[in-house]
């Protein structure tokens, strides 16, 4: 009997319509679960040539060890594959399906190959069916789920792609329920390239817990401690939109347009969302086991129903020079229905708007649509073009960088992306930790946020700022880690926080609760892990495993060719200062950025080119993995035997 872990990996071969199971045990002790096990499996499969839409590309759906238990926020899974830009990509998914996958008996589902015709997979405990999906092809993500639920008849959870993913758009996303999406990284495009429309799951098996009574007591205590954090709860509920985007613009956290420096338009402030939310808000949307809720569903006559939250709300307003919430919701809803990532789609529109404003492109380049900033016609039509892969939409099929290259006329220099992936709409000129994390994290900065510096930046009064400074000294011994604009004290929290988020992804717990709003400590999750599995591990043991996993991710990307030259932000952040707001004039300095990168590589155990060294592999017990790694990097990539450890910058 397996405790904590469900016990099995479900391996699906779409080319031959076969499924097999494998035991999780061979991976569990070293890589724990979820993202950790996915990374190990992908590491074993990766080659330099493996691309996003290659049938050999293996896509992993990894709930964590605590997923499915009543511990707070334990219903997350991470989707992983070689994705947009040709590198390892991750995206999180929630709702009910991660729990259901565990209840069906699986710690991980892997899919490889390509089906000959559109299919969806239905998993009911140990039964796996390959079902025709031709009648679903072309349907949006909400319709598709409803049709599958009707077909199957009983209680079933579904994750699916939309028309964009079906057409293997590089930024196609995967959706479940009304509001959860694995957006970044183009994992929906991976599914589409495999002719896989959806995975539906029913689970009626037991998840066994080694020490049930103690586990339930500890889980209840954790929930009570979260329930007592009223301020944190309110903050987390801001993801539902109430005043969030407004706050970001006021405190200089969010960006405008295509991260532009435009005189006269610098005072764009997003109005509060309250009126819109009061009128059209329906109900909170949660993932399973969530004690708070961060998402909300709206129903707008003439537009439709759907979830909308958090950063996405900024992407459909400030990024598009739009102050109309109804238009913003329409854009968000339409992007979701097509199954595209909100940040990726709005980044393309923002780019086209800047190019048009500067006279570099005309409406002839955009199918006769004038790309006027904030214009409804421009916004809605481009979303249709991208989702349907028509006209200008086809140019951007392979992502924003490739699309800009095809436009020619040096349009590429205006692209705001890192390693082919769109950016979160934050102020990278100001927050150096965001800049470093975006440049280096496998996903992007959202998986490595130092909540202390973020909180300091958002703090409304000097007294609250001082609280964060005290916290910085307590946690890191360095007051400067509270200052988002400081290069000093930036590398260490970035390295630590990305490890914590990775651990959250291995346990299947929500990073908004643990690392962001409620607590940054994994002491309780470690205790819950030990009680659930019967395997006694401390917070430090688990964080060590997480750092091992991050190293493996970097190794996967190094095999794919990622080096120091790729760990960089667009030139704009170095040459154009912050146009307005409380940090007017701030920008990145190249020398300081590179020093910060040096410090990060030192802490990570990478050489000066950003490649993990043999010593680092051995430190984490990745001995066999070093063997494969050394063979898979050709001589021109020159992996040194010993690291070039530098003294950390002062």
């Amino acid at each position: 009997m397996s405790f904590g872990w469900a016990g099995q990996i479900l391996k699906i071969d779409l080319s031959n319509r076969r499924s097999d199971t494998d035991s999780i045990e061979q991976y569990a002790r070293s890589f724990i679960g979820g993202r950790g096990v996915s990374d190990k499996i992908i590491f074993e499969e990766v080659t330099r040539e493996l691309s996003q839409f290659d049938p050999a590309n293996i896509i992993c759906f990894g709930p964590g060890v605590l997923t499915g238990t009543p511990s707070a926020g334990s219903s997350r899974l991470k989707v992983s594959a070689i994705g947009e830009g040709g590198f390892l990509r991750h995206a999180g998914l929630g709702g009910d399906i991660p729990r259901t996958i565990k209840l069906a008996g699986y710690d991980l589902i892997t899919v490889q190959g390509r089906a000959e015709e559109p299919l969806y997979i239905y998993i009911c405990n140990d039964q796996v069916q390959f079902r025709k999906a031709s009648h679903l092809w072309g349907k949006d993500v909400y319709e598709s789920q409803a049709i599958i639920r009707d077909e199957i008849g009983k209680s079933v959870d579904v994750m699916c792609i939309g028309p964009a993913g079906e057409k293997a758009v590089a930024f196609g996303s995967i959706h479940t329920g009304w509001g959860s999406a694995a957006g970044l990284g183009g994992l929906g495009g991976v599914m589409g390239s495999k002719n896989l429309k959806a995975i539906a799951v029913t689970g009626t098996r037991d998840i066994h817990i080694a020490k049930m009574t103690e586990f339930l007591e500890a889980a209840e205590q954790q929930r009570v401690s979260f329930a007592n954090s009223e301020a944190a709860i309110q903050d987390m509920r801001l993801g539902q939109g109430w005043r969030l985007a407004y706050k970001w613009t006021t405190y200089g956290i969010g960006s405008k347009g295509n991260f532009e420096s435009v005189p006269g338009l610098n005072d764009l402030v997003i109005p509060p969302m309250d009126d819109f939310a009061n009128k059209y808000g329906v109900a909170p949307l949660v993932c399973g086991s969530c004690p708070v809720s961060h998402n909300y569903r709206y129903d707008v006559p003439g537009i439709g129903k759907g979830g909308a939250k958090c950063t996405g709300l900024h992407s459909v307003t400030a990024t598009l020079w739009n102050k109309d919430w109804t238009l913003g919701f329409q854009a968000y809803n339409l992007i979701n229905r097509y199954g595209m990532d909100v940040m990726a789609a709005t980044s393309i529109i923002a780019l086209l708007m800047e190019l048009y404003a500067k006279g570099i492109i005309s409406s002839k380049d955009t199918d006769g649509i004038p790309m006027v900033r904030g214009d409804k016609n421009a916004i809605i039509n481009i979303i249709h073009k991208l989702g349907r892969q028509e006209g200008i939409g086809k140019l951007f099929k392979d992502g924003i960088v490739e699309g800009a290259k095809k436009l020619g006329r040096d349009c590429e220099q205006f692209v705001m992306a890192v390693k082919g992936q769109a950016l979160q709409p934050y102020t990278f000129r100001v927050n150096k930790q965001f800049a470093l994390a975006t440049a280096t994290n496998t996903k992007d900065m959202i998986d490595a946020v130092n909540i202390i510096a973020y909180g300091w930046q958002e703090a409304a009064t000097p007294e609250i700022k001082q609280e964060y400074e005290k916290l910085a000294e307590k946690e890191y011994g360095v007051k400067e880690t509270a200052f988002p604009y400081s290069y000093k004290g930036a590398a260490w929290p970035t390295a630590i926080e990305e490890g914590k988020v990775a651990l959250g992804d291995m346990l299947g717990v929500c990073k908004w609760l643990i690392t962001w709003f409620m607590t940054s400590s994994f002491e309780v999750p470690a205790k819950l892990f030990s009680l659930a599995t019967g395997v006694s591990m401390t917070e430090d043991d688990l964080l060590f495993a997480a750092q091992k996993v991050i190293t493996l991710e970097r190794a996967i990307n190094a095999i794919k060719g990622m080096r120091r030259k790729d760990d960089i932000l667009p030139e704009r952040f170095f040459s154009e200062p912050e146009p307005g707001g409380p940090y007017k004039g701030e920008k990145l300095e190249k020398g300081d950025f590179q020093s910060m990168l040096d410090a990060y590589y030192f802490l990570r155990g990478y050489n000066s080119d950003g490649v993990p060294t043999e010593e680092t592999f051995h430190k984490y017990g990745l001995v066999k993995e070093w063997g494969k790694f050394a063979k898979n990097c050709s001589s021109e990539q020159k992996i040194p035997q010993k690291g070039n450890r530098q003294e950390p910058p002062q």
């Binding site: 209840l103 009626t204 399973g288």
Partner: protein, 168 residues
């Protein structure tokens, strides 16, 4: 006075933690299919989540129909309970329950349902959204009638209304 399980339907967000906790405590393993309470998703008009479970009726149809007297009312905890040893698995109680909240264990071939965890319902302890509460029955409506009274007081205190209301 014994307490009752109160469901605040407007607060349920469908996280189903109650179902996880219930099955964990009562069945020794987490399995939503073995929970004694179900959270049903409804999209008629609005997205709504309805936690359904035994209402512990005073004149319980299940107790009335049971041919072997396995179902009875425990007044000490104001609950309806099933004597598992006496149950013959005929499932007539399932047929007559107006709420459909009796389940059938296909291994033991006996029925099971909510028993209020002997006076300390675990579903209530795990519900952070306050959709489930365990209260004295006269406490159930306090919050609502207080809120209604306050709203009325607010309206009645408006100057234009004071003039309009005859004072004799």
């Amino acid at each position: 006075m014994p307490k009752v399980l109160v469901i605040n339907y407007d607060k349920c967000v469908g996280c189903r933690t109650c179902m996880q906790a219930c099955s964990a405590k009562k069945e020794g393993g987490i399995n939503l299919a073995k929970s004694r309470r179900w959270v049903i998703t409804s999209e008629i008009e609005r997205l709504t989540f309805i936690p359904i479970g035994c209402q512990h009726c005073v004149s319980a149809p299940c107790a009335a129909i049971c041919p072997v007297g396995a179902i009875s009312r425990d007044e000490a905890l104001a609950r309806v309970i099933i004597n598992q040893d006496a149950c013959i698995g005929c499932r007539m109680c399932m047929a007559v329950c107006p709420f459909g909240c009796i389940n059938f264990n296909t291994i033991d071939r006996k029925v099971f349902k909510c028993d209020l965890c002997d006076g300390d319902p675990i579903c209530v302890r795990f519900c952070q959204h306050k959709a489930l509460e365990y209260l004295e029955v006269d406490e159930q409506s306090v919050v609502k009638y207080t809120s209604a009274a306050n709203k009325l007081a607010h309206i009645l205190s408006k100057p234009s209304l004071i003039e309009a209301i005859p004072s004799n």
